[in-house]
């Protein structure tokens, strides 16, 4: 079943992500894709993630599609103006790519080309509206398209954002702009996440909780310190610290959380950051 059909079913959806290489050698990326094939409903392809220049997400989506996976095209507003965004979306549609995740994108100053010009002609909410327009057969200037798109649009939300209220207001704008599914920033504190879901349930959208694979207690502390909106509770850090094999423990924690999440939300989005070979292990442990 396609990702968009699974979203419409009652099934718990699993997605994962791959990052295109810095360079043209796609062997590793395709190897990671092969490991994920058949185990996840769709695979996100990151778009110059963290503003680090890499092979284009559109091209990588196409390669994954050819390999039999259902890609989610991550599209940021950082590097493209409205002409380029629309044109890449038409290109993606023509290549048979059906899912798009609309993102603002990190600022270039945090990446490896800090002197580049930041575009941000549109923001993620406006981009979602554009996707809706293209689906209806028109471009942003009202011109008719020769062949519309048929995208399943998604967006992101940070349930642990501090402060939360402005984030929720934005979330509601994304819903209004036509996002069908949301993939969240990594969640570890499931009680907190439950509160978010109690609120989010009033909207007819599917929420896939972000699962960022923990590799060590050090990594957990680093996330707490450096990544906005992520909070790893102390009991998980202790668990990792005490474990003889913290990497195995990370897999266990992820699996356990996915099991718990099945009661809470509609799916899980696993981010293994370069350790995609562990995703099937997480899913085995979660009995999925």
């Amino acid at each position: 079943m396609k990702f968009r059909d699974i979203l419409n079913s009652e099934e718990f959806v699993i997605t994962a992500e791959v990052g295109p290489p810095k360079g043209t050698d796609v062997h590793e990326m395709l190897h990671a894709a092969d490991l994920l094939k058949g185990r996840v409903s769709a695979v996100n392809v990151t778009d110059n993630q963290s503003s680090v220049m890499r092979l284009s997400s559109l091209a990588a989506c196409h390669l994954l599609k050819e390999r039999g996976l259902d890609p989610i095209f991550q599209l940021t507003c950082r590097d493209r103006n409205r002409l380029a965004l629309q044109s890449d979306l038409l290109g993606a549609a023509a290549l048979g790519i059906e899912n798009v995740l609309a993102l603002a994108g990190d600022h270039p100053v945090v990446g490896d080309h800090p002197s580049s010009k930041a575009v941000f002609d549109l923001d993620s909410v406006q981009l979602l509206k554009v996707i809706h327009l293209l689906n209806s057969g028109k471009d942003m200037s009202g011109n008719e398209l020769v062949g519309p798109t048929n995208f399943c649009p998604g967006a992101t939300v940070t349930p642990g954002a501090i402060p939360l209220e402005p984030q929720l207001l934005k979330f509601e704008k994304k819903v209004k702009a036509g996002a069908i599914f949301f993939q969240t920033q990594a969640v570890y504190d499931l009680e907190k996440f439950r509160e978010f879901m109690d609120y989010a349930r009033q909207f007819r959208v599917k929420i896939l909780a972000g699962i960022l694979l923990l590799k060590s207690a050090g990594m957990a502390r680093y996330l707490n310190k450096k990544v906005p909106g992520i909070f790893v509770p102390k009991n998980l850090i202790d668990e990792l610290e005490k474990a003889s094999d913290s990497s195995q423990k990370g897999i266990e924690i992820a699996a356990r959380q996915i099991q718990e999440l099945q009661e809470i939300c509609d799916g899980a989005h696993i981010m293994a950051i370069g350790a995609e070979e562990k995703v099937p292990k997480i899913l085995d442990a979660a009995e999925l």
């Binding site: 002609d121 923001d123 939300v157 501090i162 209004k176 702009a177």
Partner: protein, 216 residues
């Protein structure tokens, strides 16, 4: 006001390397306000150039260097000093440099880097408006997202906001958190509940012009 910063002396000396005799001119408005191009800074720059073996044919600072007629008057009154110079070093914003350059046929050089249109808040200069051509401050609680959000996002905040601070990490507050809090305290959150349409960048097409009486 236009916020400026003096260029490093080496850079200035480098573009003046083929010119021995220099006329200096500064501005008594913005550049004086920021201690980058007022009369004291023009004098000081003159001393530095003399110490490097240059001849300073004359110096001056007027209000304001962006005002063509004032510049014309000053340069004609100082014609002897200006004529004796091989080039003119301007201690003012990019606008001032170009007004001088339009009026004088001499090579004109900038002594300052022009940074932004800004105001002084608690002893530091901050940019609050980037002259976008279509002001929306009426909706955003008097806080400009076009300028004060690092991404100019009209439907914010982005996912990078970190306890109210911007992800860019320059210590600036997230504009969208500020806007949200301000509107909330005013009971006007409805202002930002609707989706803001993409900005019309044709309203800020460079170079701008506005016809009218230039000498008002």
């Amino acid at each position: 006001m236009i916020v400026t910063k003096q260029k490093p002396l080496e850079e200035i000396l480098n573009f003046l390397k083929d010119h021995e005799a220099i006329f200096l001119i500064g501005c008594r408005l913005c550049a004086a306000m920021y201690d980058t191009g007022g009369l004291p800074q023009v004098k000081e720059m003159g001393e530095k150039l003399k110490a490097q073996g240059k001849t300073v044919t004359g110096f001056s600072a007027i209000a304001a260097l962006c005002h063509g007629k004032n510049v014309e008057k000053e340069l004609s009154e100082r014609a002897r000093e200006v004529d004796a110079a091989q080039s003119i070093l301007v201690l003012a914003c990019g606008e001032g440099v170009q007004v001088v350059s339009e009026i004088s046929a001499k090579p004109v050089y900038p002594a300052l880097d022009t940074l932004f249109l800004g105001g002084i808040t608690e002893n530091r200069f901050e940019e609050h408006c980037s002259l976008c051509g279509e002001c929306i401050l009426n909706l955003t609680g008097g806080i400009c997202p076009v300028t004060r959000c690092a991404k100019g996002i009209l439907n914010g905040p982005c996912g990078g906001v970190n306890e109210g601070k911007c992800e860019v990490g320059n210590g600036r507050e997230c504009a969208w958190v500020l806007i949200h809090d301000r509107l909330k305290s005013q009971g006007k959150l409805d202002n930002i509940k609707d989706i803001f349409d993409p900005k019309d960048f044709s309203k800020a097409l460079h170079p701008h012009y506005l016809s009218g009486e230039g000498d008002k």
